[in-house]
Each structure stands twice: as structure tokens, then as C-alpha cells.
């Protein structure tokens, strides 16, 4: 249960990662792997390094030592320019959306296609409209990000993250601050992306019910160690720290009724 075991090489792997921000140590010898085409959820307490782990995979921050492999390629020694080639395989959904304030929703989605591809204006137009329709935002092309609700903003950001059809989608807190309906919709979209496109999903979340419904594998960052397994294995764990982490959340969110909330969601619901 401590490490993912698979015959296939992992899509993303971190090996013996050491990292610190000034005096604060974040990772000391972190090793973990994420399988291709699976949904992996990264859990942990505040300050445990969940978002930093995603940023390491995206090459946005560099470790002090260790090796990060994306599709078999070590990205830790790449220049920023070389990283751009790697990032063409990655999409990232930021917690706040990270859409450019000054551009409309349409231009935000069109931007990566215009900048990085030879797509004609009509192809760009078609792709943008397809993606917006897939996330239920048809008709919102001319709005600015500031005019969108939290749920709409998250969906627009998801559409932008998927516009270039990445192999790997990194999601930083995709469910935070959403009402139940928006949350279900994002869940359904993420499940649809994984199922229909085969995209590998790495999710960081504090929202255990949603992520447990989605997860194929769960990685729990605990002080000084990592525990990895299926949602069922994590819930059944006799490890007091693991049990404490999950039981606390079960009690807080569902008054102890754990049987229903981690049941897998309907994966065919999303039309992405």
C-alpha cells in the first residue's frame, strides 16, 4: 500500500525529492509515482506540500535534489525553454482559475492555440466553442473572468487547461469554495475527461468526499512519510495517522456515515 505497484512505467514519478523554502523543509526524500490514465488524489494537512508537489510536476518550482519524471523524461535539469516542450503535455487547473483578467473567456481559451500552434482562426474558433460547450459555458465567450461566478470560472479554467488536449491534468483544489451543484459538475467533468480522453489526473484537494468518489489512487502526505493506496485501502487502514486523517473528515462531513460518500460517481455523466 505504501507505493503504487504496476507493471507499466508511471506517467509521473518523483524520486527522492528534497525541497525547502528558506528554513522550512517541505520534502525530505519524497518518492511517489502516478499511473498513466488514472485519477490520483493527493491529500494532506495544510502546509504538507500538496500544491508544491503539483508545482514540482509542472516545473514551476525546482527541488533542491531528486528526480522528477514526466512521461519518462527527467525534467529537473531542463531550462525554462526546454520545460515549455514538456508542458505541452501538461494542463493545469489553478485554484483561482488563473485566467487572464484583461482577456475575455474566448480569448483566454484561444490564447494557447494562437501562441503555440499553427491553427487557423476558424480552427481556433471551433476548438474554443467545443470546449466551452463541453463545460456548459456556451454563450459566455464575451464575458471577462471577473464577470463569472466561482463555479463558472473554475469550468472556464478547466476548459482552458484542456484546450491543447494534454496527457496529464494537474488540478489544485478544484472543489474549494464551490456550491454543491458546481462541485458535482466539476467532479463529473473531471471524471469525463479521464474516462473519455484517457487523461492522467493529479488532484490536490481538501475535500475528501469528492476526491474519494473520483480517486483511483490516493496519496496521503504525512509528516516525514507518504502513504499511497486505493480509497478502500485508505479507509480500511489500521495506521493510526491515516485512520485519524480520514475518520476526522468523515465525522465532520457526514456524521460518521462513511458507507455512501466514497462510492464511485457515474463516470459517463460528463460530456467533455
Amino acid at each position: 500500500m505504501d507505493q503504487a505497484r504496476s507493471a507499466d512505467p508511471p506517467h509521473v514519478a518523483l524520486r527522492d525529492i528534497h525541497m525547502a523554502f528558506d528554513d522550512r523543509v517541505v520534502f525530505e526524500g519524497l518518492s511517489c509515482a502516478f499511473a498513466r490514465g488514472r485519477i490520483s488524489v493527493i491529500l494532506g494537512g495544510s502546509g504538507s506540500g500538496k500544491s508544491t508537489l503539483l508545482r514540482l510536476v509542472g516545473g514551476l518550482v525546482q527541488p533542491s535534489s531528486g528526480r522528477i519524471e514526466v512521461a519518462g523524461q527527467d525534467i529537473t535539469r531542463l531550462s525554462e525553454r526546454e520545460l515549455y516542450a514538456v508542458r505541452s503535455r501538461l494542463g493545469m487547473l489553478f485554484q483561482g482559475g488563473a485566467l487572464l483578467d484583461s482577456l475575455t473567456v474566448y480569448d483566454n481559451l484561444a490564447l494557447p492555440l494562437r501562441q503555440n500552434s499553427d491553427a487557423s482562426p476558424s480552427e481556433v474558433d471551433q476548438r474554443v466553442h467545443e470546449r466551452l460547450a463541453a463545460v456548459g459555458l456556451a454563450g459566455c465567450e464575451g464575458l471577462l473572468p471577473g464577470q463569472l461566478s466561482g463555479g463558472m470560472l473554475r469550468r472556464a479554467a478547466l476548459a482552458r487547461a484542456m484546450i491543447a488536449k494534454p496527457e496529464i491534468l494537474l488540478c489544485d483544489e478544484p472543489f474549494s469554495g464551490l456550491d454543491p451543484l458546481s462541485l458535482k459538475r466539476i467532479e463529473s467533468l473531471l471524471a469525463g475527461i479521464n474516462r473519455r480522453l484517457g487523461t492522467t489526473l493529479l488532484l490536490v484537494s481538501h475535500h475528501i468526499p469528492s476526491t474519494m468518489r473520483l480517486a483511483d489512487r490516493v496519496l496521503l502526505l504525512l509528516p516525514g512519510r507518504v502513504v499511497q493506496g486505493t480509497p478502500e485501502e485508505m479507509l480500511a487502514s489500521a495506521d493510526p495517522e491515516v485512520a485519524g486523517f480520514f475518520n476526522e473528515d468523515v465525522e465532520e462531513t457526514h456524521a460518521g456515515d462513511a458507507a455512501g460518500w466514497w462510492a464511485p460517481i457515474e463516470r459517463g455523466g460528463a460530456s467533455f
Binding site: 516545473g59 525554462e80 515549455y84 516542450a85 483561482g96 487572464l100 483578467d101 503555440n116 491543447a164
Partner: protein, 260 residues
């Protein structure tokens, strides 16, 4: 005593390291500006944001400064019977010093602070990281067009400030004080030299624009990703750029403006 020396040494090292970072940043901006493919649209947008939107403040300020110069100059010169030199006094003051310095300070307050705040808020809201994740270089897409626009618009805004200033002085000197318009104009044209005065003025404006573009984008780009970080980037941009402009003005005047 030893502690004080150590503190001075530490602070000196911080300053040197910061200067090194600024120079590397400037090099990166230059490289990203001249590397193809060229995105003219982004540069035109920034020219509009930084230049066209600063027109009103520059024109009004230039006119006001020129009117004050006209009043003060006339009242001083008339004591010596030299009021006919008002055009020369106003023109040289505006072209050599007041135009480039005051227009640069005005644009720093409006466009420099706005640039730093915009980039810093993009850092805070992870928009720059979002660009990186889309394989779009933020230096090239965000920073370079803003920095280049400042270099390009400053000479034009400087020229406009000077023209408005001369117009303001003319309004005071000729219709109000009764000075002959031809005397004002001939005094102005005979005293201003293109190679020394006008080229020097435009050169100053280019240098001030470069300083402003570099400092504003640097402070924004390397700001802390918090609301306090945005505030600090904005404030420090205005303070550092204003001081840099005034110090730079002295050195440029010393190098360019001394008569042989």
C-alpha cells in the same frame, strides 16, 4: 562596532545582488523583445495603455507648468528689462530639464505604478504561472511589451509636455502680459539648438522610460504573491523610479549638457 560593519557589509551584498538580478532581468527582456516571432499586437496594446491613456495628465500638467513659468519668468525678467527673453528662458527650462523630468515623474505615478500593480496582481493570482503552464513566456507576453512601450512613449510624452508648456507660457506672456508674440517666438527659436537641447531632451526621456519600464516590471514580477506584495511593488516602483530619474538626470546633464 563589529556588528555595525557586518550589517553594512550584509546590506551592501544585498544591494549588489539586487543590482545583478535587475541587470539579468533587463538582459532577459531585451532577448525576449528581439527574438522572433514578433507580436506587434501586444506592443500596440501597451503603447495605448501606457501612452494614450497618459495624454490628458501630461497635457494638463505641461500647460500648468508652462503658465507658472511664464508668470514667474516674466515677473523676474521684467526687473532687468529682459522680458523679451521669456521665450528662451521658458523653452530652455522646459526642453532641457522640466519636460523630461516632470513628464517622467508624472508617467511613473500613473503608468509605472499601474504596470507594477498589474504584474504583481498577476503573480498573486497565479496568472503568470498559468501562462508558463501554457508554454507562454510571461517575460515575452507580459513584461517585454510593457517595458518597450515605456521606452517608446516617453520621448513622445516629453515632447507633448514641452509643447503644452511653451503654449502655456505663451498664453501668459503674450495675451496677458502684453509681450510681443514675434519677440517671444524669435527668442525661443534663436536660443534652442537641435543637437544639444532637443536631442539631449529626447535622450533623457528614452533613458527615463527605460528606467521606469525596468523598475516597474522588475518590482511587479518579483513581488511577494500577497496583497501586501502588490502594495509594496507599487509603492517601491514610484519611490525608486522617482529617485532614479532625479539622480539619472544629474548624470545625463553632466555628461550631455555642459557647454564646452
Amino acid at each position: 562596532m563589529v556588528e555595525s560593519i557586518r550589517e553594512i557589509g550584509f546590506r551592501s551584498l544585498v544591494v549588489v545582488a539586487q543590482l545583478g538580478r535587475i541587470l539579468r532581468f533587463a538582459g532577459a527582456i531585451v532577448r525576449s523583445t528581439f527574438a522572433p516571432p514578433y507580436r506587434l499586437q501586444r506592443h500596440l496594446e501597451e503603447l495605448y495603455n501606457l501612452g494614450v491613456l497618459s495624454l490628458i495628465i501630461v497635457c494638463i500638467s505641461g500647460l500648468a507648468v508652462g503658465m507658472v513659468l511664464g508668470l514667474q519668468g516674466y515677473n523676474t525678467l521684467v526687473r532687468f528689462g529682459a522680458e523679451g527673453s521669456l521665450g528662451a528662458v521658458v523653452g530652455l527650462s522646459l526642453i532641457r530639464e522640466l519636460g523630461p523630468v516632470l513628464s517622467a515623474l508624472l508617467v511613473t505615478g500613473r503608468a509605472g505604478s499601474a504596470t507594477a500593480a498589474e504584474i504583481a496582481s498577476m503573480v498573486t493570482s497565479e496568472q503568470l504561472d498559468g501562462l508558463r503552464m501554457m508554454s507562454i513566456d510571461p517575460l515575452r507576453f507580459v513584461v517585454s511589451p510593457k517595458a518597450v512601450a515605456m521606452v517608446v512613449v516617453m520621448p513622445m510624452l516629453n515632447a507633448l509636455f514641452i509643447l503644452c508648456g511653451i503654449g502655456g507660457a505663451y498664453l501668459i506672456g503674450v495675451p496677458l502680459m502684453g509681450l510681443d508674440g514675434g519677440v517671444f517666438a524669435s527668442s525661443l527659436t534663436s536660443s534652442v539648438r537641435f543637437s544639444d537641447d532637443i536631442v539631449g531632451s529626447l535622450l533623457k526621456a528614452v533613458v527615463f522610460g527605460a528606467l521606469m519600464g525596468l523598475i516597474a516590471t522588475f518590482r511587479g514580477y518579483f513581488s511577494a504573491p500577497t496583497a501586501a506584495g502588490v502594495s509594496a511593488a507599487t509603492t517601491s516602483t514610484v519611490v525608486i523610479t522617482s529617485v532614479a530619474i532625479l539622480i539619472g538626470d544629474y548624470f545625463l546633464t553632466a555628461l550631455w549638457g555642459i557647454e564646452p
